[in-house]
């Protein structure tokens, strides 16, 4: 019998704690596969954020650091400045990156820090029980927007890719989605490119991966995927937002 797939070496053989239908597991696997393919697992250091993905520190088979809320890009910078030949990635959710940590995120991008940020956006705070995130859609019901998010009260959702793409020092920005196999294949290519940019030493790279939180959306996993297609992707268009010439 031919073995066609296996657990990536860079992912430890431990059970995930994620809810059914959560796409963190997919994102973890894609990152781990890319680390394997690039052959950098021995010199990669990951920084996990606060929120549902905080346990990422436990799942990757590379050195891992657990950061305080939003601070992963600064911590990654500190490591990279001491060890410039290492591969650094931050793994952050929308609450972590776009709310409390947006200052760290923007300044790290402006410094053109040679790190890669994997940003998983599911438009809601997962771990604290389904409250509004900066990425929550207008009209979306959460625990703290029970009547739907309104522009008047809460302002507009933050689009991280559009925000960061024009910044000098940022070399690669792509928004992908994890809701079907076709998009997952594209997502992996994007993550690989983002890591390659770092290995080439050209600057900061970001991959935003759209994801669903069925638990806090109050939907079944299948309904959540439909919700992503109908509501989320139209507001957060997929595609490459920045790429150096010659890289597609």
């Amino acid at each position: 019998m031919k073995k066609i797939t296996a657990r990536p070496y860079s992912l430890r053989d431990v059970p995930f704690h994620y809810c059914p239908g959560c796409m963190h597991g997919i994102a973890h696997r894609l990152v781990a596969e890319v680390i394997d393919e690039l052959g950098v697992s021995g010199r990669t250091i990951g920084i996990s954020s606060v929120g549902c993905s905080v346990f990422a520190k436990h799942y990757f088979n590379v050195d891992m650091i657990q950061a305080a809320h939003g601070r992963a890009p600064s911590i990654a910078t500190g490591v990279k400045r001491v060890l410039p030949d290492r591969v650094l990635f931050t793994y952050q959710g929308d609450g972590d990156l776009a709310a409390i940590g947006i200052g760290d995120f923007i300044h790290t991008a402006y410094r053109g820090e040679k790190i890669t940020t994997i940003f998983v956006n599911n438009t809601v705070y997962g771990m604290t029980g389904g409250q509004m995130a900066p990425t929550t859609l207008i009209g979306q019901v959460t625990k703290t927007t029970p009547f739907g998010r309104s522009v008047e009260i809460n302002g507009n959702p933050i689009r991280a890719c559009e925000l960061i793409a024009p910044v000098e020092g940022v070399v690669y920005v792509e928004r992908v989605s994890l809701h079907n196999p076709k998009e997952i294949i594209k997502a992996k290519k994007a993550i690989r490119k983002a890591f390659e940019m770092q290995l080439n030493g050209v600057g900061f790279s970001l991959v935003e991966a759209l994801s669903a939180c069925p638990t806090n959306l109050g939907l079944s996993p299948l309904e959540a995927i439909k919700w992503m297609e109908e509501k989320m992707i139209p507001f957060y268009p997929l595609g490459v937002y920045k790429s150096p010439a010659g890289v597609v």
Partner: protein, 356 residues
């Protein structure tokens, strides 16, 4: 051996370099800014890295990252900036990472002013951040001692894998004094097998973490920290005692004020008052034992501080009610004058052990 006339803030920078520190992340704030000026020039000269962050919050997180990577790393700030760093200080303690912070204190609360002060004693010695933790706090009282204590701070921080703070005030930072630099000594930085430097560079994988969701596991971590803190209290307490043997009144002071108090002790002795001085050099661990022992022989203590009575509380804990503790403090960036301390000393020596 070289002799220099050196400013306190420059001595912080040079002391760090002599201690083998090659990474500094910081943000300017008065009266500490010269630390950043000095290191911005000196570190690149010797192949180190100086980096100005966008805020104190970012500074301490850059320090966190560099510490994870195994560097001897530091930052420096003043009260308002140190307040911003408290979140990460708790995370550094929880993750058991070594690093050195310098707080050149100024008047507060709030934006306060840039006058010298000792108003951050509570914040430095009683936590500041959330959770059950301590950091090592060292309080030098001369430019030479600043130079030497930087090395001590890095060594203790490394040995016990926890943050250490050098706590001084605007006068310490700004004053110039002759110093001797002994460059012969080579610095040995202990290996860091726990650092997240990439799995190829150490055995197995390393994880730096302060998250323990299982209650029993958290308690285990807390107990391990507690035992470490107990060990530090037993082994690392530093205190200078001056003329205490036959003293009837013991002044207690640290940093800038301790210098004035030493002169006051001499003056009081000339006038026939048997005064002495306890100068804590480590504020955490606090020299409770010295206070406790002194409490048996003196009639009373007089705490002299540039705050409203913060170390005063630790002296009371150490005295255990055996001798009354009085307090004399100047606030708002004001420095106590020798003649005023002497007057206060006379007053309390008359009241003696009556506690009135």
């Amino acid at each position: 051996m070289r002799r220099f006339l050196m400013k306190g803030n420059d001595a912080i920078g040079e002391g760090a370099i002599l201690a083998g520190c090659r990474h500094f992340f910081g943000y300017p704030i008065t009266p500490q800014s010269e630390v950043t000026h000095y290191l911005a020039k000196r570190l690149p000269e010797i192949g180190g890295l100086f980096m100005q962050a966008e805020s104190e919050l970012a500074s301490i997180n850059l320090v966190f990252g560099a510490a994870c990577a195994g560097a001897r790393v530091m930052t420096a700030s003043s009260g308002p900036g140190i307040s911003l760093m408290q979140e990460e200080l708790s995370f550094l303690a929880g993750s058991e990472l070594p690093c050195v912070l310098v707080n050149i204190m100024r008047g507060g609360p709030g934006l306060g002013n840039i006058g010298p002060s000792q108003a951050d004693y509570f914040q430095a010695t009683k936590g500041g951040g959330h959770g059950d933790y301590h950091i090592i706090v060292l309080a030098p009282n001369s430019v030479q001692e600043i130079l030497d204590i930087m090395k001590k701070a890095f060594d203790l921080s490394d040995m016990y894998r926890m943050p250490a703070m050098v706590l001084a005030d605007g006068i310490m930072g700004q004053m110039m004094e002759p110093v001797v630099i002994d460059e012969e000594k080579s610095v040995e930085i202990p290996p860091r097998p726990w650092a997240t430097t990439g799995r190829d560079y150490h055995e197995d994988r390393n994880e730096i973490n302060s998250l323990f969701v299982i209650l029993e596991e958290m308690e285990e971590v807390n107990l391990r920290l507690l035992h470490k803190y107990e060990e530090i209290c037993a082994k690392e307490t530093l205190c200078e005692e001056y003329m205490l043997d036959d003293a009837e009144v013991a002044l207690v002071a640290f940093g800038t004020v301790s210098r004035i108090c030493r002169a006051v002790v001499d003056k009081a002795r000339e006038q026939g008052i048997r005064a002495g001085l306890v100068r804590p050099i480590t504020l955490w661990p606090f020299p409770y034992d010295v206070i406790s022992r002194t409490a048996k022989s003196v009639q009373c203590f007089l705490a002299v501080e540039m705050n409203m009575g913060q170390m005063f509380e630790d002296i009371e804990i150490g005295a255990k009610g055996r001798a009354p503790v009085y307090h004399y403090g100047r606030l708002g960036g004001m420095v106590p004058l020798a003649k005023d301390i002497l007057e206060e000393l006379k007053k309390v020596s008359e009241r003696g052990g009556t506690g009135q």
